[in-house]
């Protein structure tokens, strides 16, 4: 009984975490599912978003303005990866790793701005001293300052804007680039530009998520983004496995990634209550993602007849 009570007590926290990482999962969805690129920049850009946001808030900036700059910093990171990939011809995965590595140094510097030290691995913000948009402190309170309200609205806003964007000419061109780059170029689409744009938008969202996370947990840390790509993938895949058959509409597919993220954090909360250490979670996450990613492959390999439905090539 105590166990259940404690679990239910921690559900609002899981929901808050899930919504914040849901924004990040939407970013991963854009690169991984729409653009067909596994972008590893996000491990760095999440922390960059957190660092920029925490820094500006601690300097007394308006938190909305701080988040705007967090998003811009993430977009800049995406731009770097995009240019590595398209302008310099470096494979997408390696481009992301390069940016991510570079961001590690940059993030340490960002958090030390205005400080005596030249680098800093943690930057704390407090809801008592700074104006924060979301804070875990109020997660179980009823009222307008409960972060779940704002986070829910933000998620809806992000999905709405992306739904509009991917319906435009530019957004369609981006989808075509991910679906079939040969066809896209034959139709006059600059696929390099599409890829850069997709990476910029994606990392902007990831940094937004980082900015929210820093406020929510009360600090930005250098390793807050470690393994973020895998968590994002887990959310996307859980959402697809559970809701892919029902959610056909594009907006709903994005929502599925957010729901996947929430489910991920509910499960994490559960296993933590069951006695796992928080440091074990990365292992668990990696195993879950590996398992879900291998299912379609094994299915195709050993049940090829049932997997080939509708895929006939010949007329």
């Amino acid at each position: 009984m105590d166990f259940l009570l404690a679990f239910f007590n921690s559900l609002p926290g899981a929901l808050g975490q899930g919504l914040i990482w849901g924004v990040m999962a939407i970013g991963v969805y854009i690169t991984y599912r729409i653009l067909d690129v596994a972008d590893l920049t996000v491990d760095g850009s999440l922390a960059t978003g957190g660092a920029v946001c925490a820094l500006l808030v601690s300097m007394g900036w308006n938190p909305w303005l701080a988040m705007l700059f967090a998003v811009l910093s993430g977009m800049l990171a995406g731009l770097a990866t995009g240019l590595f990939h398209t302008l310099c011809g470096i494979p997408a995965i390696l481009s992301g790793i390069l940016t991510q590595l570079a961001l590690y140094s940059i993030n340490l510097r960002i958090m030390a701005v205005g400080d005596a030290a030249t680098t800093k691995a943690t930057l704390a913000v407090s809801v008592d001293r700074h104006s924060l948009l979301v804070s875990a402190r109020h997660i179980r309170e009823l009222g307008l300052h409960n972060p779940l309200l704002l986070l829910g609205l933000l998620v809806i806003l992000v999905i709405g804007v992306l739904y509009w964007f991917f319906g435009t000419e530019q957004g369609s061109a981006l989808r075509a680039t991910g679906s079939n780059p040969n066809m896209a170029r034959a139709q006059g689409i600059n696929t390099d530009w599409s890829k850069v744009l997709g990476l910029v938008v994606s990392n902007g969202l990831v940094a937004l998520s980082g900015g929210l996370l820093a406020q929510y947990q009360g600090s930005a840390t250098i390793d807050m983004g470690r393994g973020a790509i895998v968590i994002g993938l887990a959310a996307v895949i859980i959402g697809e496995v559970l809701l892919g058959k029902v959610f056909r509409n594009f907006a709903l597919k994005l929502l599925a990634a957010v729901i996947g993220s929430i489910i991920y954090y509910v499960v994490i909360t559960l296993v933590l209550r069951l006695g796992l250490e928080s440091t074990d979670l990365k292992l668990l996450t990696a195993l879950v993602v590996a398992l879900f990613l291998s299912v379609p492959y094994w299915k195709g390999r050993y049940f090829s007849k049932s997997a080939k439905r509708g895929g006939h090539v010949n007329a």
């Binding site: 040969n182 066809m183 090539v313 010949n314």
Partner: protein
């Protein structure tokens, strides 16, 4: 309409796999010319087409389309002038997007992509009418994902997309080779109809000598990276497979024309 001058292209230069694919090709297509291109494997047909389309650039030589030098333009910019259908039915369409979305993308070939809505209501009606021309029932499936279509349906759709916005030049790279004979014939007759209707300047590669003879007003045969035969006008109309084989023997100095790939 199209002018290729002294085009050379060598792949893997300086390695053991060095392959001289184009060996000084010059070709001029007049406005409204429909040229078929034949030749054995490795003759340079596809290389020529890809060079014109801008998939890769020539080692030397120049390419002009409609009076504009496009030699240095990247592929997506040349697309403004060129409609293309590929050999692989998977290559010309976006499988994860709807039929109408694919058409809408093609309708904007050569235009800058804005933040306006990607497909309008009026377009949908227009596409429904156009799809009826294909006679494949696709007009009832505007919102189906293209990945659900058969190879023949996808090739027909790609053809429609390539000509939706009238191109200065239509490039067909063995676009019926991957289809079964019945479907291939249907796609080919649709091709003929659209090319005639819009008087499109067309370059069509084929492996099939009979198709090459039956279609177009001009026939080009390539061998070893060069154009060895170029027949047009009355001579092309009267041409038979036997004539062509004899001519090829003379031009190339070999009996390779018996190559069954040419006769298939």
């Amino acid at each position: 309409m199209l002018e290729v001058r002294e085009a050379y292209k060598t792949f893997n230069a300086g390695t053991v796999n060095e392959k001289r694919a184009l060996n000084g090709v010059s070709l001029t297509l007049k406005d409204g010319d429909f040229a078929t291109v034949i030749g054995g494997n490795g003759a340079g047909k596809s290389t020529l087409l890809n060079l014109v389309a801008g998939v890769f650039s020539a080692d030397s030589g120049s390419i002009t389309i409609g009076g504009q030098d496009v030699t240095r333009l990247p592929e997506h910019k040349r697309a403004k002038f060129i409609g293309r259908v590929f050999q692989d039915p998977m290559m010309g369409t976006a499988a994860t997007m709807q039929i109408e979305e694919n058409l809408a993308l093609a309708a904007r070939r050569g235009q800058s992509r804005t933040l306006r809505v990607g497909i309008t209501k009026g377009e949908r009606e227009e596409y429904r009418e156009l799809l009826k021309l294909l006679d494949l029932g696709l007009e009832e499936r505007l919102t189906s994902k293209v990945g659900l279509l058969s190879g023949g349906q996808r090739q027909a759709l790609t053809l429609l997309m390539a000509t939706l916005k009238k191109p200065k030049l239509l490039l067909l790279d063995e676009h019926t080779a991957a289809l079964d004979p019945k479907t291939a014939a249907k796609v080919l007759s649709t091709t003929e109809r659209i090319v005639q209707r819009d008087r499109l300047t067309t370059l069509m590669i084929t492996h099939n000598m009979r198709d090459a003879i039956a279609h177009g007003n001009r026939l080009i045969m390539m061998y070893d990276g060069r154009i060895v035969i170029d027949i047009s006008g009355e001579e092309k109309k009267k041409l038979t497979v036997e004539d062509l084989l004899a001519k090829f023997g003379q031009a190339s100095g070999s009996d390779e024309a018996d190559d069954k790939l040419l006769l298939s």
